[in-house]
């Protein structure tokens, strides 16, 4: 876009930098000069001093300085600020002119060159006549200079040169053309910068010095001008703080000016400039709040300065520009690191700028709509002699004029007319859209989605006004769904209205239909008559006619649109449209439901579709179809009735295919599910409703799933919360809200008519063949074919159970690990009606615990539904599952005891001991012990032939059977520590089981023993089982030495009250290795009953580690003494006396 009069001049918007002119450089032909110039221009980063350099020829003519005014007494200023002033000081009048001259200190022609240089300086000075611009000389030298003070010639000649050129020593520089060019250049430019600073400082003082000559009545404009100039020079001097101060006072002064219609534009223009400078500096100083406050103040002050009524658009244009340029400044500051927030970001300023631009457009259309015979005034009042204005913000036809009334009313009129005519050619919409899209970009950044949508709607409307209907449609369509999902119907309706117009004007049939349907529907807030008009148009479109035009459209566009629609009529193809309703709220609502969440395969699936129209007039449709996940059923869910074209407009409410507004209509469908679909879900994928005629133009409304559009979910929720009584409407009418969608149903198998019964006696015993009797009885009316039974452990339990449970149908063979846990599809055959069948199932559970068993019967049967024969499968699961506990039949305890029934921790070689077995029944059922058996290991021997003592015993619950076996451990090889004793086997079965049933075997491993060899086991032999009172009882003790050495043994007998005895009472003897010492005692019992035998103490002197108790345990300690028959009472007594004597004297 070319700059308009409202755009800020570029010299205002740039950052002012000191202007330094370089002369004497031949940058085109001289490589050295080129390198120097490049070093000045290249890499001007922020760390270099802010100077703008320019190469000028040595004889360049600088702008002439006007003669300085000595008195302001008769001076009347013509304006506030000249248009050329800023540019003059930025680009034309340098702060410093630098003359480059090639001259070495030891140059042969020093004198000549010195005078040439002086001449050049003089030329520059002359062209700068009257300016305070400084002049400096830089000598380009080939040699590296010596350190200061060492080169006497140099200092002499330098002084001479300064003298010749009339320069101060500070203004003469040397630039050796060596390797370190950039370093020298940077030092040079720093020196230049200092000179420039001084120049601008002097300029500021010069401007300030005018102040004392001014008076407040005639020189008000100059106060503003001088403050502005001071501010601008301060900026050039890079003194932004003072610049800001001066600009602020300039801003204050400008509002003190007398404002009237003729100078209003000038004041506002300058106020805008100064405000721009202030805001810019505030952002630069990182005080954004100051900038915003200044801007607000500026707007508040200027808002009411409307200016001429005929040129009201100028004010709004200016306002719009103010907001826009502040937005730009704000945005620029953000790019440099400022953070903005949601409620304070550039977007608001762009938005407001757009707002004023819209107002401007409105005013322009109001003031600039001239009669066609009004022509642009000639001569052009906007033309000036120079082509530009002298002062900012003045009128071209009366420049410099500062009185309240315009000098020439006719000329004024012509000028205004010229401005109005110019305004007419402005592309307002373009401006507005550009500003809006700027704002959209900002609001997007600052999380304002709704503001963004709003602005996009405005953009769309603006495109509509600009007759760019396709663009408008695109934008509006984009934001529409935001308003729809947030349920702001009023806003949606307004957007839809515009969109409808756009689609009408562009001849977009599908969009036209979609928007019409929504505008006619329940989400629209339009009045009934408007809806009626739109519906009639919609029906026209469906009948392939041209719709009536939309109101408030551009007449030219309407004519074009009518042509377009006419073309559409003749078009043969592309007249079928599908509208997905989940993205809009159409005027027909739909709900589809299966009557039940599941149907048995032998009953028909029922489906109802409810339709309701929300439009003002009844509407007729041609086809209603439901698509299901299995498309084979679709043919059963179809209502079709081709309607004649003329019927659409005159529907009678009685007909099936006509929807009357506000009434719910129900369509029922019924079909028989296929047997393949048993166990599957039937879903409604979509419901289609066709409007119009297939031959002409037709529209399919497509509801996904069981109906529902963009608004229905919320409505259903509200309806469910509602307190409203669900009243029965008269007749077949239904309350719409009470209908709920049921979009899917399950097809499930037929209810089986067969009974499965189970007989068994839990709990099961471990390892037994647990018998379960299954009785299957048919209750069907026809033959049940292919009856199959699945029985066994229910899958999905602990994996261990599968391995420890085995199922078989055959009881004769054992059931081992090879048998599965679940028998599937045991073929049973066909069952006649009423027939009964039994099956026995044997289960072996290896370990205890509870198990869930499954019994499942399936069969096929033919049946007739709705006149259709179907073969359906039935499944019967008996009470789902059976849980069976398994318990151990009995607990078997095995232990070793000595022959004295004392608990044995270890057994001794060759010493007999007992194996004791206790069998405790834990079974709730009587258990029959068939037999028991001991299987001894090779290194274990039975003392005599072991025989079962519990065979054929029946144990009731809790009863215990015991038996024992006498065993002996033969000598073992040295080094063998433990000896396996063997196994104990019990064969058993349940009492109730028939004889055929095999007994089961329990094998108990007898614990290992630790046989020890005893070095000197004493033993008795032939101790009778009983003695008699006063009858001699001889006892032989044997002590065997099993060691390899002679053993010395002490043997003593302790006296006992119950016995007299004869034999060695105390003796010490030696036993040879391997020999046995026999000792005989003759006991004479004195008392009857169980008596303790006299204790034999044996102690081995060589082996004190063996206590006598250990030796004693092998010997009997007690004996039963019977009473003696009363015959021959005295004789034995004598014998006794003799024996006693013998004992007392014998040793």
């Amino acid at each position: 876009m070319s700059p308009t009069q409202w755009d800020l001049p570029p010299e205002l918007c740039c950052r002012p930098m000191a202007f330094v002119a370089l002369t004497g450089l031949d940058v085109v032909y001289n490589a050295v000069h080129r390198a120097i110039w490049d070093a000045f221009c290249a890499n001007r980063r922020a760390d270099r001093v802010p100077i703008s350099f320019k190469v000028l020829p040595g004889d360049h003519e600088y702008p002439k300085c006007r003669t300085k005014r000595t008195s302001y007494e008769w001076y009347i200023p013509k304006g506030i600020l000249k248009t050329g002033w800023m540019n003059k000081h930025l680009n034309l009048v340098p702060a410093l002119v630098v003359l480059f001259y090639e001259l070495d200190w030891d140059d042969a022609q020093w004198k000549e060159k010195q005078s040439e240089c002086a001449t050049k300086v003089e030329i520059v000075r002359t062209s700068l006549q009257g300016r305070n611009t400084k002049v400096a000389v830089v000598l380009i030298q080939k040699k590296t200079p010596l350190p200061p003070g060492e080169d006497v010639v140099a200092s002499e000649r330098a002084a001479a040169l300064c003298n010749a050129c009339d320069l101060s020593g500070k203004s003469l520089f040397v630039l050796p053309h060596t390797d370190h060019l950039v370093g020298y250049i940077i030092r040079l430019e720093n020196a230049f910068y200092e000179h420039a600073q001084t120049y601008y400082y002097n300029e500021i003082r010069r401007v300030k010095s005018h102040k004392e000559f001014l008076n407040k009545t005639t020189h008000q404009l100059l106060f503003v001008r001088h403050q502005f100039k001071t501010g601008f020079f301060s900026e050039l001097k890079q003194d932004t703080q003072n610049a800001l101060k001066h600009y602020r006072s300039a801003y204050g002064l400008i509002h003190e000016l007398r404002a009237h219609e003729t100078n209003m534009l000038e004041i506002k223009t300058l106020a805008g400039f100064i405000n721009y400078k202030i805001c810019r500096l505030c952002f630069q100083h990182n005080t954004p709040l100051d900038a915003i406050a200044q801007f607000r103040k500026h707007i508040d002050l200027c808002k009411k300065k409307l200016g001429s009524g005929d040129l009201a658009f100028e004010h709004t244009a200016w306002m719009s520009k103010q907001f826009q340029s502040f937005g730009d400044l704000f945005d620029e500051a953000i790019k440099l690191g400022l953070t903005a927030i949601q409620t304070q970001n550039p977007g608001f300023y762009y938005q407001q700028a757009a707002c004023y631009a819209q107002e401007r457009k409105q005013q322009a259309s109001q003031f600039c709509s001239h009669e066609p015979n009004v022509t642009y005034p000639l001569p052009d009042p906007l033309e000036t002699l120079s082509g530009v204005l002298d002062f900012y913000g003045q009128r071209a036809w009366r420049q410099g004029h500062q009185s309240i009334d315009p000098p020439d009313p006719d000329r004024e009129k012509q000028g205004v007319l010229a401005l109005q005519m110019k305004e007419r050619s402005v592309q307002h919409s373009e401006l507005i859209i550009a500003l809006l899209s700027n704002a959209v970009a900002q609001f997007k950044k600052y999380k304002c989605p709704r503001m963004k949508s709003h602005l996009m709607v405005q953009m769309g409307e603006e495109y509509f006004h600009a007759k760019e209907y396709t663009k408008a449609l695109k934008l509006l369509d984009y934001v529409m769904c935001d308003y729809r999902t947030e349920r702001w119907w009023s806003l949606l309706t307004s957007i839809l209205g515009t969109a409808l117009k756009c689609s009408y004007l562009t001849g977009h049939v599908k969009d036209y239909i979609t928007y019409s349907m929504e505008l006619v529907g329940r989400a629209s807030t339009l009045r009934e008559d408007q809806k009626s008009r739109i519906e009639k148009n919609l029906i026209r479109v469906l009948m392939n006619e041209v719709p009536e035009e939309e109101p408030n459209c551009d007449a030219g566009s309407v004519r074009a649109a009518q042509g377009l629609w006419g073309e559409r009529l003749t078009l043969a193809a592309g007249n079928e449209f599908t509208i997905e309703v989940q993205d809009c709220v159409p005027f027909i609502q739909c709900k589809a439901r299966f009557l039940s969440p599941s149907f048995h395969v032998d009953e028909p699936v029922q489906l109802h579709v409810y339709l309701r129209a929300d439009c003002p007039h009844p509407v007729r449709f041609a086809k209603l179809g439901v698509s299901l996940s299995n498309q084979e059923y679709n043919q059963y869910c179809l209502v079709e009735e081709a309607c004649k074209v003329k019927d659409i407009l005159e529907p009678s409410s009685q007909e099936n295919m006509c929807l009357v507004p506000g009434k719910t209509r129900k369509y029922c469908f019924k079909f028989v599910a296929k047997t393949e679909d048993v166990g599957r879900k039937i879903e409604i994928t979509h419901v289609d409703l066709m409007l119009g005629v297939e031959s002409g133009r037709c529209v399919y409304l497509n509801w996904r799933g069981g109906g529902g559009d963009a608004a229905s979910a919320h409505e259903a929720l509200q309806a469910s919360r509602s307190f409203k009584r669900r009243t029965r409407l008269p007749g077949q009418q239904l309350e719409w809200d009470t209908v709920s969608v049921q979009a899917s149903t399950m097809v499930i198998s037929r209810v089986p008519r067969i009974s499965v019964q189970l007989r068994h006696e839990p709990p099961a015993l471990t390892n037994e063949m647990y018998c379960m009797t299954i009785t299957i009885q048919s209750e069907e009316d026809t033959v049940a074919r292919d009856v199959c039974l699945t029985a066994g452990l229910k899958p999905g339990q602990d994996a261990n159970l599968t391995q420890t449970t085995h199922v078989t149908l055959d009881s004769s063979e054992g059931c081992d690990d090879a048998h599965p846990a679940l028998l599937t599809d045991i073929v049973v055959g066909d069952l006649q009606p009423g027939q009964k069948m039994e099956k026995k199932l044997y289960v072996r559970c290896v370990n205890t615990g509870s198990r869930i068993f499954l019994f499942h019967v399936s069969y096929a049967i033919s049946s007739t539904v709705e006149g259709k024969d179907i073969a359906c499968k039935c499944h019967k699961v008996r009470d789902e599952t059976v849980t069976i506990d398994t318990v151990v039949p009995f607990e078997v305890a095995v232990k070793f005891v000595s022959t004295k029934f004392e608990h044995l921790e270890r057994v001794y070689v060759d010493v007999p001991f007992l194996l004791m077995v206790d069998i405790l029944s834990a079974s709730p059922w009587p258990v029959h012990l068939v037999d028991s058996q001991i299987q001894l290991a090779s290194n274990m021997a039975a003392v005599d032939l072991p025989q079962s003592q519990v065979a054929a015993v029946v144990l009731q619950t809790g009863e215990c059977a015991s038996e024992c076996f006498s065993l002996k451990c033969p000598p073992v090889q040295n080094g063998t520590s433990t000896v396996a004793a063997g196994h104990y086997l019990i064969s058993w079965k349940r009492c109730v089981h028939p004889l055929t049933c095999q007994p089961l075997l329990i094998i108990v491993t007898v614990p290992v023993v630790l046989p020890l060899s005893h070095p000197l086991p004493p033993r008795t032999s032939e101790l009778p089982s009983f003695g008699r009172v006063r009858e001699s009882l001889p006892v032989w003790y044997h002590i065997e030495n099993r060691t390899g050495m002679v053993q010395e043994v002490d043997v003593s007998v302790e006296p006992s009250d119950a016995f007299m005895f004869s034999g060695l009472k105390q003796v010490r003897m030696r036993i040879l290795p391997g020999s046995v010492q026999e000792m005989v005692y003759n006991f004479y019992p004195l008392m009857a009953g169980y008596q303790n035998l006299p204790l034999l103490n044996v102690s081995v002197l060589r082996l004190p580690s063996i206590p006598s108790q250990l030796l004693q345990r092998f010997l009997p300690t007690r004996i039963f003494i019977k009473v003696r028959p009363p015959l021959h009472q005295h004789e034995p007594f004598l014998t006794l006396c003799y024996v006693m004597h013998y004992i007392h004297t014998g040793c």
Binding site: Y483, E486, S490
Partner: protein, 139 residues
């Protein structure tokens, strides 16, 4: 006084919206709708604080050239929005607060009505009259 009063549901759709009849009604609808951006932002920022310390009054949401928009959020996330003319400088913050309080108590009355289905648009006459009292009397 207010030029527009709106009650917005938790799900951000309007339950009640009324503006001075003299001006473009749609413009106010847009103003209220766009102000929800700021409301949501403020609520989510406050939401992190303890719930019982939450101030219902959100203050000035954002100023436009012509209007000032104030917001208020109930504990059930129902929003009240009041739009005031920018030129009306006499209106103090306290007065806005008391307007919101009045609105809130009247809204509570509406909610207490057993015949009112929460989530439906408000059609209560007494609520209407309370709002009317707050609105600029268009003469």
């Amino acid at each position: 006084m207010a030029v527009c009063v709106a009650v917005i549901a938790k799900e951000n759709y309007p339950l009640y919206i009324r503006s001075v009849p003299t001006q473009n009604e749609l413009k106010f609808h847009y103003t209220v709708h766009t102000s929800l951006d700021v409301v949501e932002e403020k609520v989510s920022a406050v939401g992190k604080a303890l719930p019982d310390q939450r101030e219902l009054y959100l203050g000035l949401l954002y100023p436009t050239e012509d209007y000032k928009v104030y917001g208020y959020v109930t504990n059930s996330k129902v929003k009240f929005v009041i739009v005031v003319d920018s030129s009306n400088t006499s209106l103090r913050d306290n007065e806005i607060r008391s307007m919101f309080r009045k609105l809130h108590s009247s809204f509570t009355d509406v909610m207490c009505n057993p015949f009112y289905n929460p989530g439906d648009t408000i059609q209560s006459k007494s609520f209407d009259s309370i709002v009317s009292a707050m609105m600029v009397q268009s003469s």
